[in-house]
Amino acid sequence: MSENIVEVKNLKKYFPIKSGVFKKTTGQVKAVDDVSFSIKKGRVLGVVGESGCGKSTLGRTMLKLLDPTEGQVTFAGKNVYGMSRRELKNLRTQMQIIFQDPYSSLNPRLPVYEIVGEAMLQHGIVKSKKEMMDKVVEIIGKCGLFPEQASRYPHQFSGGQRQRICIARALAVNPEFIVCDEAVSALDVSIQSQIINLLKDAQDDFGLTYLFISHDLSVVKFISDDVAVMYIGQIVEKGPKKQIFNNPLHPYTEALLSAVPSFDLSLKATKKRIILKGDIPSPAKPPSGCRFHTRCPYAHDVCKTDVPEYREVESEHFAMCHKVNGVF
């Protein structure tokens, strides 16, 4: 259980900003800016953050769907960015991704068995079309769909069922690691719970490791073992779920947790809400020093100038804050 399946070291992903007469690169959107972490096999790392914090870019860059600007990702001991074509092809069966939008993530022109089975044929997991069909029926069955639905087309399914197809497609190649990029965010509450349970079941059955990206803290709290909080391209706090939720260190985490509306009435009385001032700064022009200083209720002068150290404050519990580091 303690073996790291994925390790991310100093990962950076910048997007150029082009402007002016000749569309010269005049700046960079630092979507992911020097991020390091690791995930242990069989665990779920939840990544939370608000829009523009780079959480989706992080997931895509880790799978080499986007080319990194700098840094390293190792999967099962191998450097993902230094792989040959053949190794990369092999990697594709081991790392998978499930997207947010159940409508744009399925090709409308292909029936379910093609969508789910295509990659199995591509990678030689099945040898014949016949074998593929059997396998597809088995997998979609596990995901809660009926065999006869294999020959239907995406538009004949509801959002929740489409997400089941996406999960089946990812599971079809027997992956070890799946990035769930806002996989349940677009779904209705009653459907969301079905899919969350399905993801949990799949994890138990196949011993999967997840990177679970979401803006919804209650969902992340439910499904994750560890949680990383991102703010403008950086991980500002990471640790075991319990510590993050019960004893948040970073002021941003604290504010984020307090901002989630809860319907637990007993909690309501005791909870004090921290309202942050101002808007989320753009990752194209991140604030100097600590990026949170423009909105932080505790900000000192040092926060405006010096970047805080990302430090293991307690065992396995990291944070990036001058206040936590005892600078003031």
Partner: protein, 327 residues
């Protein structure tokens, strides 16, 4: 308590080639003066159509107000002239919509969009309206209102645009504010700011609020009473405390249990089986009968009469009618 708005048996249907969609089917509720009523439900439950019907904003065709009454201070919104409903819109009833990115006209400056209502309903001159717009932007705590008033919507962030929408809606001091998922598109910390602002404004202004959302957490923070809708029908109405402490309708119970909350402890979520129904193809009787674990034969034939428990807890379910197991 005085009722500001009373909706009786509202039926808003849509007619298309595929058949009739009963988006709001026999919907009845009221909003008291100064009260916030929450309407909660999943996509396609009819909460938005119900709220749009209040000021007759549903496009006809394809929509049609088939029946019912919408009484605002005793005046039936469905019967008044087009001229009169335009006087009411923006003046007595205003709206805040979900998408701050698309709900403001991209080619007009913020100030102009706020001024428009003021000039129309308050008879202000352009200059007065401009000044008043700045004041409104100040009221919703937009920094540098003098500058923002001359900005185009694209120059503002989502949160700021939603504040501008609120300023626009409140400009003419409406009696009823209809907020349709006003914070759904916003980030959590920005949502907290906007909800905080709305709670603060509630004290300042003398308006009732209809708050439409799918987020149970937001409902519990904002509303006095809650109405739960499913497939065009009202299934339960109660005070916010009652709904969360003592939900009665199987759908409400399932909905609350299936939403992971910050305090959820169990390792599996409760699940309502099946899918959100297709409004083109509803089952006979209670629309929830296909997913309900307490389903009885009579559920499949007719929609139950409403039952009132504890004075004001309204439920539409055979479990609570005569002969029902929980009666």
């Amino acid at each position: 308590m005085e009722k500001l708005l009373e909706v009786k048996n509202l039926k808003t249907y849509f007619y298309s080639e595929r058949g009739v969609v009963k988006a709001a089917d026999d919907v009845s509720f009221y909003v008291n003066k100064g009260e916030t009523l929450g309407i909660v439900g999943e996509s396609g439950c009819g909460k938005s159509i119900t709220s749009m019907s209040i000021a007759r904003l549903v496009e006809t065709p394809p929509g049609k107000y088939v029946g019912g009454e919408i009484l605002l201070n005793g005046e039936d919104m469905l019967k008044v002239s087009d001229e009169r409903i335009r006087q009411i819109r923006g003046n007595d009833i205003s709206y805040i919509f979900q998408e701050p990115m698309t709900s403001l006209n991209p080619v007009f400056k913020i100030g102009r969009q706020i001024s428009e209502s003021l000039m129309l309903h308050r008879g202000m001159s352009q200059k007065e309206a401009y000044k008043e717009s700045i004041k409104m932007l100040e009221l919703v705590k937009i920094p540098n209102p003098e500058r923002v008033v001359d900005d185009y919507p694209f120059a503002l962030s989502g949160g700021m645009r939603q504040r501008a929408m609120i300023a626009m809606a409140l400009a003419c001091e409406p009696k009823l504010l209809v907020a349709d998922e006003p914070t759904t598109a916003l980030d959590v910390t920005i949502q907290a700011q906007v909800l905080d602002l709305m709670n603060e404004l509630k004290e300042k202004i003398d308006a009732s609020i209809m708050f439409i959302t799918h987020d149970l957490g937001v409902i519990s923070e904002m509303c006095d009473r809650v109405m739960v809708m499913y497939a065009g029908k009202v299934v339960e109405v109660a005070t916010t405390e009652d709904i969360f402490k003592n939900p009665r309708h199987p759908y409400t119970i399932g909905l609350i249990a299936s939403k992971p909350d910050m305090s959820t402890k169990s390792s599996r979520l409760h699940v309502i089986p099946g899918n959100v129904p297709d409004l083109n193809n509803l089952p006979a009787g209670c629309p929830f009968s296909t997913r309900c674990s307490h389903v009885m034969d009579k559920c499949k034939t007719a929609f139950p009469e409403e039952v009132v428990l504890d004075g004001q807890h309204r439920i539409a379910c055979y479990l609570y009618t005569e002969g029902g197991s929980k009666q």
